[in-house]
């Protein structure tokens, strides 16, 4: 990366060479660590080397990309070529959950987990066709910028900021939480300390250089994370099937899994009804309606998340913004079409090496992860051979042979433990940890920037002090960035398990709150200011209402809002029988305050059997409808505004937002 310190023009002209050198250097480093491992260097130090070196590189890029120019700070000087912006978006988009959790979710849910794979890729079609190129033409710094210009003023801007805050903050907390977990597991660090170490890693990338620094770090992080994701699974594919193309060979793994599933039932190692939940059987965890609504909400949410949309403000042209969305999807696709292979390989490994074995003969790795409470056998953490024997003895009629229903694994462990389970050298485990770290850090950077920019640009500069000089704006931006980051790290260090689960909510909240305003703003000229504001508040409000009521106040939902028990997707019977519902509702302990995660009703009641993860199923139609109706009964937008929309639609001509005056140039 020595060249990065040269002038801007040099850097942009030599991008290919610089990142090729960087990638080569990274491979060389992996080989070097591999050699050190063979020479007998302790695993702990190998882990430190991986984490330390990658963070140093990110910090270096962050420091050399420092800037005091507003345009560079907010939109990387609009000079990021489509290809590289695609990579940066890939890293921005793929979070700790995608890297660590996705394969585990597919392991657990089988076919139904593919809703996430489809939802988190298909959304980019909406980004490219409906939204991103037009926001790029407008020349926004933030998503609320566009809302303010299109819907005449700060009321719309404030609505946008509100939704942005609601969906980005929980999301960034979850990323720092993920960083903390990785540092804790691989560096033996105290979790709270690890959260703040992660915070440092995030701040060095973003604070000095804003969007410019984050962009070039994210490209570097994408390379680390994709290499780290592919190597173990390519290795396993080559080892097992002789072809290093896991995406092709896992078809055979699927076949073997199906055979084993049959055998387990025949041999009494699995309950007879377990075939209904076999790996490739659809709609065993989600009903068809829930499956499709989930895909829909994830897709629309993707197209509305501000930290993703703002990446397309950085390209040199509208044309490149469109191409850049295509590149983004390609780079994201590489990971997402590998995840199901990961899941299939590790499921096959577990099925063929564990199920049907004597409890006394389980391999060591089961206890390594069991000790951390991440693998359960017979309902309790598999901390040691003795503990496993004890907990299985407690089950009536247990024969001492491990059955399918005895075993459960935490979804996060699948990716992290696979190298170990498959007997690959430790260097691969270290590599996976570095990849997970890259995924968490890069997403956290993007989110943090979206949050801090909304506060500094939208709230402070546009609403409080429009006359602030450039220097002051940048100082405020940086201070707010640090404040938000510390707040997020502090929240993460309190281990808010709920917040981590809430990340899935961000998609529905963004979809319900922002999607109608963004799409209609470009595609329907008749959308008025009043319509947009009413629609945003209604869509966001309904989504939030459904989420909060079903999760925290299910008894209120049942008593006052006509909610009923959701249904079992296989049998169609209610999850909560009428008697159980009655018992839960008459329990006085329920009647005060929000219910705990262990409560029998939480997230299991609703309208029309729709899970709360798909809340935008209600919020989005309401948002569109309100926006449509209110727009029609309020006066049409002015001639100038209609002209402004035309200008957004046509790629030719200058951007519409003028930096110096901060006003819309065409007015």
């Amino acid at each position: 990366m020595a060249n990065a310190s040269a002038g801007k023009g040099d850097f942009l002209n030599n991008l290919g060479r610089i990142y090729a050198l960087y990638t080569g250097g990274f491979f060389g480093f992996i080989v070097l660590v591999g050699i050190l491992e063979q020479l007998g260097v302790q695993q702990k130090y190998l882990g430190y080397m991986f984490m330390g070196l990658t963070i140093l590189v990110y910090a270096f890029i962050g420091v050399v990309s420092r800037t005091s120019d507003v345009g560079e700070y907010y939109v990387a000087g609009r000079s990021v070529p489509a290809f590289y912006n695609g990579m940066a978006t890939g890293a921005d988009w793929m979070s700790a959950a995608s890297f660590i959790g996705m394969a585990g979710t597919l392991f657990l849910l089988g076919y139904d987990g593919l809703a996430f794979v489809l939802g988190w890729t298909g959304g980019y079609v909406l980004v490219a066709v409906l939204i991103a190129p037009f926001l790029r033409k407008f020349g926004a710094y933030t998503v609320p910028d566009f809302l303010a210009a299109r819907y005449g003023g700060n009321a719309a801007r404030l609505c946008g900021v509100l939704v942005l805050m609601a969906c980005s903050f929980t999301y960034v907390v979850a990323q720092i939480f993920g960083t903390g977990l990785i540092a804790q597991r691989f560096l033996d660090m105290n979790f709270e300390v690890a959260c703040f170490v992660g915070l440092m890693g995030i701040l060095v990338c973003s604070m000095l250089g804003g969007m410019k620094a984050v962009t070039w770090t994210q490209v570097a992080q994408y390379i680390v994370l994709i290499v780290a994701y592919l190597i173990p699974v390519v290795w396993m594919s080559a080892k097992k099937f002789g072809i290093p193309l896991p995406q092709l060979t896992y078809g055979q793994a699927l076949q073997s899994i199906a055979q084993l599933e049959q055998e387990f039932v025949q041999k009494g190692l699995a309950p007879a009804n377990s075939l209904a939940t076999s790996h490739t059987a659809p709609f065993s965890r989600y009903s068809p309606a829930n499956y499709f609504w989930l895909i829909f909400c994830l897709m629309v949410g993707t197209a509305s998340l501000p930290h993703v949309l703002m990446r397309y403000f950085t390209t040199p042209s509208v044309k490149e913004a469109r191409q850049s969305v295509a590149w983004s999807l390609l780079f994201i696709f590489i990971l997402y079409f590998t995840a199901p292979a990961y899941a299939a390989f590790s499921k096959l490994e577990v099925y063929s090496t564990l199920i049907g074995k004597n409890l006394a003969d389980l391999p060591m790795w089961v206890y390594n992860w069991g000790k951390l409470g991440l693998i359960n056998i017979c309902g309790k953490a598999a901390a040691s051979a003795a503990a496993v024997a004890d907990s299985c003895k407690a089950i009536a009629g247990h024969t001492g042979v491990l059955r399918l229903q005895d075993f459960s694994i935490n979804t996060d462990v699948v990716v992290i433990s696979t190298p170990e389970i498959a007997g690959l050298p430790y260097v691969i485990t270290g590599l996976v940890a570095a990849g997970g770290l890259a995924a968490a850090l890069s997403t956290a950077d993007g989110l943090l920037l979206a949050l801090a920019n909304a506060l500094s640009h939208d709230i402070y500069y546009k609403m409080i002090n429009p006359n602030a000089p450039t220097k002051q704006r940048l100082v405020i931006s940086r201070v707010l960035l640090v404040v938000v980051a510390v707040l997020a790290a502090w929240t993460a260090s309190t281990r808010p398990t709920d917040i981590v689960a809430m990340v899935a909510w961000a998609f529905s909240l963004a979809a319900g709150g922002l999607f109608p305003a963004l799409v209609l703003g470009v595609w329907w000229k008749r959308t008025t200011k009043q319509g947009a504001i009413a629609g945003m508040l209604a869509g966001f409000g309904v989504t939030l209402f459904y989420l909060v009521i079903t999760r925290y106040f299910p008894h209120i939902g049942v008593n006052y809002f006509g909610m009923v028990s959701n249904l079992n997707p296989i049998t169609g019977a209610p999850l909560i029988s009428p008697e159980a519902m009655k018992a839960a509702l008459s329990n006085p302990a329920l009647l005060d305050g929000p219910v705990a995660a262990s409560h029998p009703l939480q997230s299991r009641v609703g309208w029309f059997n729709i899970n709360n993860i798909s809340s935008a199923a209600f919020g989005l139609p309401v948002g569109f409808l309100v926006m449509y109706v209110v727009s029609l009964i309020t006066p049409a937008p002015s001639k100038e505004l209609q002209q402004f929309i035309d200008d957004c639609r046509r790629p030719k001509g200058k951007t519409l937002m003028d930096e110096k005056s901060g006003l819309v140039a065409s007015h």
Binding site: L118, T121, G122, V125, R322, P651
Partner: protein
């Protein structure tokens, strides 16, 4: 007559948008409604219904976006609203 070319431009752009949205609905949703019959067909060990959700639709989305960028650029040039290079 700037208005007229604008209208033609927007008509063509809208048509491309609708085409893309229809493809999106087909490969995002409709195909997967037939997962059970499709799973009866096996290719290289993959049940086809599973394959479509795990890879097939994703490949279609990627190809769609690259062709969309190209098609929209052609419309821009044809109607004279492409950016200066």
């Amino acid at each position: 007559m700037a208005n007229n070319t604008d209208d033609i431009y927007w008509q063509k752009t809208s048509k491309l948008m609708v085409t893309m949205m229809v493809l999106w609905v087909i490969f995002g949703f409709v195909v997967h409604m037939f997962v059970t019959p499709l799973n009866g067909i096996k290719i290289l060990g993959f049940p086809l219904g599973f394959y479509m959700a795990a890879q097939g639709s994703l490949i279609v989305f990627v190809v769609m976006l690259f062709s969309f960028a190209k098609a929209q650029d052609n419309i821009d040039r044809e109607c004279g609203v492409a950016e200066d290079e």
